[in-house]
């Protein structure tokens, strides 16, 4: 099965095209792919419990789409509660996933 990595390094709330990442993930899943959605840098601002983008991402999370947030980025920003469906992750987990190979990597 094809696997795709989407990395969000920006606060998706700040950009009018931020929510389009969710659409991209959904469309890839609809076409039968697995999606790794990794939040890092200011992207983790969308992981905090009850944030607007976190609610949207948690609705996506499930079979075919895994949503993860970088631990170092979260700690730096004082994010100590993640929205359900978003898992705390690490650069090691990202490197492991990349070493297994993705069909493509889309870095936002």
């Amino acid at each position: 099965m094809a696997r795709y990595l989407i990395v969000a390094s920006r606060d998706m709330t700040e950009y009018s095209n931020g929510p389009s990442l969710s659409d991209l993930s959904e469309n890839l899943r609809t076409e039968g792919a697995d999606v790794f959605f990794f939040l890092i840098e200011n992207g983790v601002l969308s992981a905090r419990k009850d944030s607007r983008e976190a609610i949207r991402l948690s609705e996506l999370s499930g079979p075919g789409i895994r949503v993860m947030a970088d631990d170092v980025s979260c700690r730096a920003r004082g994010i100590d509660r993640l929205h359900p469906g978003i898992a705390l992750s690490s650069m090691d987990e990202l490197a492991d996933a990349i070493s297994e190979g993705f069909g493509n990597i889309y870095w936002y």
């Binding site: 390094s9 920006r10 950009y15 890092i40 840098e41 200011n42 170092v72 650069m91 090691d92 990202l94 490197a95 492991d96 990349i98 070493s99 297994e100 190979g101 993705f102 990597i105 870095w107 936002y108």
Partner: protein, 149 residues
């Protein structure tokens, strides 16, 4: 393109080479830090890493970077001095001698524009736009960090 390899008769895909394209300098952006973090982890996994530095990213490897003292009135809160990014790139390039290979190429046009062509640290190659596309062509995975504003 991922290479397929037979392991115990089972075809598996292996990533051997990752190309990373970065266009931002440090000190006002976290992207270079992320690239260093990721490069370290990929090298640990015996993956060759080719970094192509474009636009402001050519200043990351300026060898003239030095530690400086912080303003006295702020030392209580921000310390006496801080690390500079070039030191960590130098150490990653050296780590690449003993693990998998790290190539760091800076765009000659961008380096000339910024007056840093002759100030690149040892181990960094001043290359061309052609090198970018050679890296992309030969990589199993391409990671391009956007220079958003």
């Amino acid at each position: 393109m991922l290479q397929e390899e037979a392991e115990d008769g089972i075809l598996t895909k292996k990533v051997r080479k990752v190309a990373i394209v970065i266009s931002t300098g440090s000190y006002m952006r976290e992207a270079p830090t992320t690239v260093l973090r990721l490069a370290e982890k990929l090298l640990e996994r015996d993956i060759e890493v080719n970094i192509w530095a474009f636009e402001e990213a050519v200043t990351l490897t300026n060898r003239e970077q030095v530690e400086h003292s912080e303003p006295p009135s702020l030392r209580k809160v921000i310390g006496d001095k801080h690390a500079y990014v070039g030191k960590f790139i130098d150490q990653l390039l050296r780590a690449g001698l003993h693990t998998s290979k790290l190539d760091w190429v800076t765009c000659i046009l961008c380096a000339q524009e910024r007056g840093v062509e002759h100030h690149q640290m040892n181990g960094v190659i001043v290359g061309t736009l052609g090198d970018l596309w050679k890296f992309v062509r030969s990589a199993d995975q391409v990671i391009a960090i956007p220079a958003y504003r």
